[in-house]
């Protein structure tokens, strides 16, 4: 019986056997990790063709994660998008509150098959860390999560969740103290402990086979969304929109639509305080090809190949790299990438909360802001699917400070009310 939720080896010829998506990808890793990364590739290849693996994963997807996830039309939100119809793919409704669980359960099963007893992972917003800690609790694996010190502060709720689940959370104090540095530290751990440890990488970056494998575990998002939108709207959408940090939720949504040439694939990168300020994490908009964390892709860097410090209000998008398949989609023209500022994302976050009763993660709010723009460009006949990749509970402290929602912060509230005016908000 074919799987309902696991769709490996999609049609198309990327990546190559060496892990290249056109000019991007590959395997730039230290010799000490070559054997372990090769083992992951071999084990994943076996798992792909093993009906028992698909059966186990399907069972978890249905009875643990709660798949398939809903496709919710949001007409009151869409009134602010030029009247286009907008549907949200509700990955926020998955167990643990984001799309991350799709990949984590797949790799956790793989960890068991490899006979490894310990899992490490990086996390930015904490969504991948929470999902990983969850799977480790479920499977009885030791779990260590690396998280930038700045992110442990702005995503404190998720730190507590991970610890509640039994994971050790290590605050990384090196470099920019965000996601990039958490990945560096996880790699250092992996090199030293690779005999019994699997690095459960959380996005579609890293050395081959991670970009392709993580994508495959997330392809379910787009496969479901494509079927659901055909049922609900009777046609394919004009655009599929997702936020991109490393790019996992975006590739998950996009992939099933790649052969549908009429469907625009639009990734929304974090423009932070604005591209022109230099304080952003818009890798495809402002980066150049380079090597970071094991593969060639666009990277934010200076003229001598030093990685520059990224910035975004969203911890999950605050990353100077991007998965190689996105670089390939950009250069081939199949994908479009635009940058969304902190402010635009926060306005979209509040707008969705107030018009539809759905509080999105700040990451996903970048995609919502993109949808408002694209909807206006398309007009009232437009049809858009947005990946609502995560829920916003974890972001309430950041949002409360941004909008001045704390009683104890009355002055901040008054200031923020001025800056937080959104179109149509008062009606």
């Amino acid at each position: 019986m074919p799987s309902d939720f696991f769709f490996p080896d999609p049609t198309g010829q990327v990546p190559s056997v060496e892990g290249y998506f056109g000019a991007f990808g590959g395997k730039f890793i230290p010799e000490a990790l070559v054997a372990a990364v090769d083992e992951v590739a071999v084990e994943y290849d076996k798992a792909k063709h093993d009906p028992e693996f698909a059966r186990e994963l399907d069972d978890l997807m249905v009875n643990y994660t709660g798949r398939p996830s809903s496709l919710t039309e949001v007409p009151r939100f869409a009134e602010h998008a030029g009247g286009a119809r907008i549907f949200l793919k509700r990955e926020d409704l998955n167990h643990t509150g984001s799309h991350k669980i799709n990949n984590v359960l797949g790799q956790a099963l793989l960890t068991k098959r490899m006979g490894k007893t310990r899992v490490i992972a990086e996390t930015g917003a904490g969504q991948h860390g929470v999902a990983t800690a969850t799977a480790c609790a479920l499977f009885g694996l030791d779990c260590t999560i690396y998280m930038g010190e700045i992110d442990t502060q702005r995503q404190a709720l998720n730190v507590a969740r991970m610890r509640m689940l039994g994971a050790e959370v290590i605050a990384v104090k090196s470099g920019s103290r965000t996601l990039k540095d958490a990945i560096n530290e996880a790699f250092r751990d992996w090199v030293a402990n690779v005999d019994h440890t699997h690095y459960l990488f959380g996005t579609v970056a890293g050395p081959h086979p991670f970009p392709a494998m993580v994508r495959d575990f997330h392809r379910v998002i787009g496969v479901e969304a494509r079927r659901q939108i055909l049922e609900r709207a009777g046609r394919l959408p004009d655009a599929a929109i997702a936020c991109v940090g490393g790019g996992s939720n975006a590739i998950g949504l996009f992939h099933a639509f790649i052969p549908d040439e009429g469907v625009r694939l639009i990734g929304c990168e974090p423009a932070g305080h604005g591209i022109e300020t230099g304080e952003h994490a818009a890798t495809l908009t402002a980066g150049e090809p380079g090597i970071l964390h094991g593969s060639r892709s666009y990277v934010l860097q200076d003229d001598e190949g030093q990685i520059t410090e990224p910035y975004s209000i969203s911890a999950g998008l605050d990353y100077p790299g991007i998965g190689p398949e996105h670089s390939y989609l950009k250069d081939s023209g199949r994908g479009e990438y635009r940058a969304v500022t902190d402010d635009a994302a926060m306005q979209a976050l509040r707008l969705l909360s107030r018009t539809e009763g759905i509080i999105p993660a700040i990451e996903s709010a970048h995609a919502l802001a993109g949808a408002l723009e694209v909807g206006r460009e398309l007009g009232k006949d437009g049809l858009i699917v947005v990946n609502l990749s995560g829920r916003g509970d974890k972001d309430m402290d950041t949002a409360a400070r941004y909008f001045g929602l704390y009683d104890t912060d009355a002055e901040v509230a008054a200031d923020a009310a001025d800056t937080a005016e959104i179109e149509g908000d008062a009606k």
Partner: protein, 272 residues
Amino acid sequence: MSGNIQLLSDTLAGAKAEGRAALIAYLPAGFPTVDGGIEAIKAVLDGGADVVEVGLPHSDPVLDGPVIQTADDIALRGGVKIADVMRTVKEAHEATGKPILVMTYWNPIDRYGVERFTAELAEAGGAGCILPDLPVQESALWREHAEKHGLATVFVVAPSSKDERLATITAAGSGFVYAASLMGVTGTRESVGAQAQNLVERTRATGTELPVCVGLGVSDAAQAAVVAGFADGVIVGSAFVKRMLDAPDDAAGVAAVRELAGDLAKGVRGQA
């Protein structure tokens, strides 16, 4: 101008002819300053090191432990550039006549341009490069340019390397083979494990004629003597950097690394 790959090979062969292992030291360029780093490197060579690897600091040193991360950070905040690394190589080589390698991550060279980098390194009198995150299967472009400019390509092998990979790596590499003594990042260790000796033996069993030098974790003369018992060279990095970090001032740091080089030079001669 061609690079000094031959000088590197001759130096390692010379140590072997003396019945001892070579001492290879690592220090980053620009640490604590560009000129201060050059002084330290000259002191290490003067103190007894046969070869120096000059680190080109990188923002994301994923294979380095806290000691070298700290030094890289100081160098980068001081504004070290690739031109400064080239000057470091040139001055260290000209002052001592000894072979100088560069050790760095792949992205700085990829971004700078492989041809430009190899040409400038050869011009500076460099002997080659160690690029620990550039595995052999991604290295064709680098090797083409390194060979053209007379520079060695030193590959790293690890305890986890399978025998067939060791054969591939030794066939592609030049200068020497860098055998990582253990699974982990740079940093000093209490002891260098038995897996180092096993790895050296497996590497030699490929039939390679390249010297096999052991690095990672070696910090004192006693450890150097043990490693010198089975390897062609002993590579020491973090212990030098730590002496510099712990020194009360730059002059004391230079004196401390000169002293350590002297101790280690005895170690590789079995005089620990």
